[in-house]
Amino acid sequence: MLVISDALGCAAGRAAAEDRPLAAWRSVSGFAPPPIATAYGTLLNHRDALAALGDAVHQPPYKASPKAPVLYIKPRHCLAGHGAAVEVPADADALEVGAQLGIVIGAEACRVREADALAHVAGYTICSDLSVPHPSYYRPSLRYKARDGFLPLGPWVLGAQHVPDPDALEVVVQIDGHEAQRYSTAGMQRGVARLIAEVSSFMTLARGDLLMLGAGPKAALARVGQTVRITIEPIGTLEHRLVAEGPA
């Protein structure tokens, strides 16, 4: 099954259904984001991302390494489509690009076992989870992550049957054509199935919800005027730009 962004109607639908390369559509702007219900993010899931904090995880304010998945929500106006121009707030030098795999739920997941979890996945997409860089994971302000347009995703949702092993995907980030980050989803502390199982133990994931697997270590930074490309094969490539915030 392929779930398609609906902005271009039949044209985009055919392109994806025929698995034509995204390059054929790069000149086309105006993709809507996939129709996501609620977007949940996972922080510090990659082993190296957590390890990079070193002993700080045991110091105040954290006092212990995280036990449960560290989750957050991106509100609805964060969602942006492939090709989006995302506004960078005037007081931010650069944005952190949380390039990661997006898991789109196809069947309600409530208290699912790890062994059954993948059956609840409709497909996968590419997420550019943007943040204003911030020093603390304790109680960060929504200002850093919840801004309009701060979650470009797409260009589409690739059906789960086309992604036999979501825990062995390479994520490649390019900023203005130069490689800025490369990591594998194999480095996650919790793989896709385990993450779904643990999250759904206390929180039902509904059909259409997005659960992001978590960003890799050493996230790339991007500035106004730059173009971000994130490639996760076999899904494809998500591209978006950063622009200066408009006047108040």
Binding site: P61, Y62, A64, P66, L142, R143, F202
Partner: protein, 252 residues
Amino acid sequence: MKHARIAWAGAVHHAVADGDQLRLANGTRLAEDQVVWLPPVVPGTIIALGINYADHKKELAKELSFSAKDEPLAFLKGPNALVGHRGQTRRPAAASFMHYECELAVVIGRHARRVKRAEALLYVAGYSIANDYAVRDYLENWYRPNLRVKNRDGCTALGPWLVDAADLPDPQALGLRTFVNGELKQHGNTRDLIDDVPALIEYLSGFMTLSPGDLILTGTPEGVVNVNPGDEVVCEIDGLGRLINTIVSEGL
């Protein structure tokens, strides 16, 4: 006017308060206990405030790791958390401290972007009561308050009504009370909000667009105590009614 969303006779209806009854669009009158109450709003983005009453801040002081507060402590919730009036909320069997939080809920009525305080209330459709439970056993110091504490299924009761903003011209002077099994356990007044409703709308709309159906749960005053299966928790706010919720064990 007071609006409700209810399920009755196999369908979901919009209803309005008519005396102590509910009236459907077709004129049918129903008693409060004849219907299933749904959250009065199909939610968009759900924003909640932590530590927005000075007295509650003092109550939590021991476990707080920050000193000065420079901006509202806002966090987000998912729609999975909501349950309507007369609903049930499950208490994890292993939990030692689960508490209610009676809160004034603001329902946004118009798209709001960079709204100034003086105009902020024009963007409000109405108000409701939220009881935003927390299971403190699961508190961790990463992206507080973490979702395992504050975004559990059915742990945010909302209702009974959406009360039109026009019927509540001053949301800044409303008494809040929580009763557990009929005993008053928590009381406060929205005049003691650290960041009041216009301030919250100005703050939030400064960096994110608010849209119709978005909810702002404005925080809770002091007086939170543990609740157990079987407890009936009633949250009351002047002019908004009484929101009833029952705690059940997770085994059910």
